[in-house]
Amino acid sequence: MLKLIGACLILTACANFGFTWAGIYEKRPRQIKGLEGALQLLETEILYGATPLPDAMEEVALRCDSEIAGLFRETARELRKMDGSTGGEAWQRALDEFFPVTALNKQDVHILRRLGSSLGISDREDQAKHLKLTKSQLAAAASQAEMNAKKSATVYRYLGVLSGLLLVLVLY
């Protein structure tokens, strides 16, 4: 009886592991797409509203996908401190804080970091150009992430359940 309970536990643990892993793969394209949308909002704020960066960031945080709102809210908070740091630095700090709680990988973060160095330092048209560039890079990353997710998510789900079964068989 005890053995049976143990086997069940092992099986659920492994399956869970596989599903979580698959979940991360599926989260990444979703979050990249959310970022794309958020940057589109930011572009609108800057290009048509000429909204100052802290306000623009807050506005985006309110309206974008809740999973990534933290990045923009944090940037706005850093900017409002007025501690002598620039928009780019506030963005980098917010990224450092935000990155670990997301499913984004290093390349995605690199794209976002590059945006930081040009944030708020030029006129509207130039800002829009930088934002467009970042968006197109994110779009490429998203389609790649989606392909990965399709392949990997199923694989990891199976892998989780099957490795659980294997472990149970070996130990039984």
Partner: protein, 340 residues
């Protein structure tokens, strides 16, 4: 009898307000290194500070009331250029970003005009490489010089002149022209006159009246996102960054002011707008660049305005006893000085 408006403020209080003003409003827009250097300066230098000049590859320069001073790497004042802290391109880039709140794109119009007004109403002049579009300034690309002008707000600067500007019988404010060379406290004075006219002066039995300020260069009210950063009274409406002539007409049409105040008239349209204001029964308060009224009368537009007998009082400022010295107040109708 010349008096200095700064004398009306107790010495100790002046010191402390200036230092807190700088640390609260000026330091946040400076890059860390320069911020640190300025923080370490003795209070008597900060008290005299009028401008902070950042020029790429040149020593950091502080313009004081009488002369200017540089700062060594150790934060000591010096007059030897070689010892002064040299402003780097990074410093300038950071300063520009901090001044604009990391939103240079939000200040395109301001950059075209060559200055940005920061929180607290201080003006930052900008120069560098200009890009043009069909002969008009489009933007300043590589910003290589900044001039941060600290806008002093001396509440009570106009105390000594107000009795001469208000008719003791009718209790009405006179049409007034303030004449002053640059950097003699013209804007400080007109701002305080506006404040007092707007609030009212119980001591003179003068009730406050509605004032319309057309602040073309954002200096009088020092607006930051349209909100006056300086105390201009609670019966005052400000048209910020608005061309004078047009702004005066807008005010007359819509805001019903009893007094219209503007800075530095001199163009033909200004004269027409002034006449329009007079016809509407509005009192005019304005300033002009110059030493005295003889010099001003050399300029056609100003001479025309003076010959029309628009102004009833002329106040001349100078530096004979420091910035903000009221040299003379003239009653235009009789041509007599009221101060002697």
């Amino acid at each position: 009898m010349a008096v200095n408006v700064c004398d009306t403020i107790p010495e100790g209080k002046k010191n402390c307000t200036m230092v807190t003003l700088i640390s609260r409003e000026i330091l946040p827009v400076l890059p860390n290194r320069i911020k640190q250097l300025i923080t370490e300066l003795p209070a008597d230098i900060l008290d005299q500070l009028e401008e902070i000049r950042l020029r790429q590859g040149k020593p950091l320069l502080l313009s004081l009331t009488r002369d200017d001073v540089m700062v060594t790497e150790q934060g000591q004042p010096t007059t030897v250029a070689e010892f002064g802290y040299v402003v780097t391109d990074k410093d300038l880039m950071r300063a520009v970003q901090l001044i604009s709140g990391s939103s240079i794109y939000a200040f395109e119009e301001e950059i075209k005009n060559g200055f940005i007004t920061i929180k607290g109403g201080h003006r930052v002049g900008i120069s560098g490489k200009v890009t043009t579009d069909r002969g008009r300034v489009k933007t300043i690309k590589h910003i290589t010089s900044l001039n941060i002008r600290i806008a002093r707000e001396i509440t009570g600067a106009a105390d000594r002149v107000m009795p001469y500007l208000i008719n003791p019988v009718t209790k009405k404010f006179h049409h007034t022209l303030i004449i002053s060379p640059p950097r003699c406290g013209k804007t400080t004075l007109i701002r305080d006159v506006i404040r007092q006219v707007s609030k009212g002066i119980p001591a003179l039995d003068f009730k406050g009246c509605t004032v319309g300020v057309v602040d073309e260069r954002s200096e009088i009210a020092g607006c930051y996102y349209g909100v006056p950063q300086k105390d201009v009274g609670f019966r005052t409406d400000v048209l910020d960054a608005c061309p004078k002539a047009e702004g005066m007409m807008m005010m007359i049409r819509a805001m019903g002011p009893q007094v219209i105040a503007t800075d530095e008239i001199g163009r033909e349209q200004d004269a027409a707008a002034l006449e329009e204001a007079l016809n509407a029964g509005i009192t005019v308060l304005t300033t002009a660049h110059g030493k005295d009224w003889e010099e001003i009368a050399q300029r056609p537009v100003l001479r025309y305005i003076i010959e029309q007998g628009i102004f009833e009082r002329m106040v001349t400022l100078g530096r004979s006893k420091g910035a903000g010295t009221v040299e003379d107040i003239i009653d235009v109708s009789s041509g007599k000085s009221l101060m002697r």
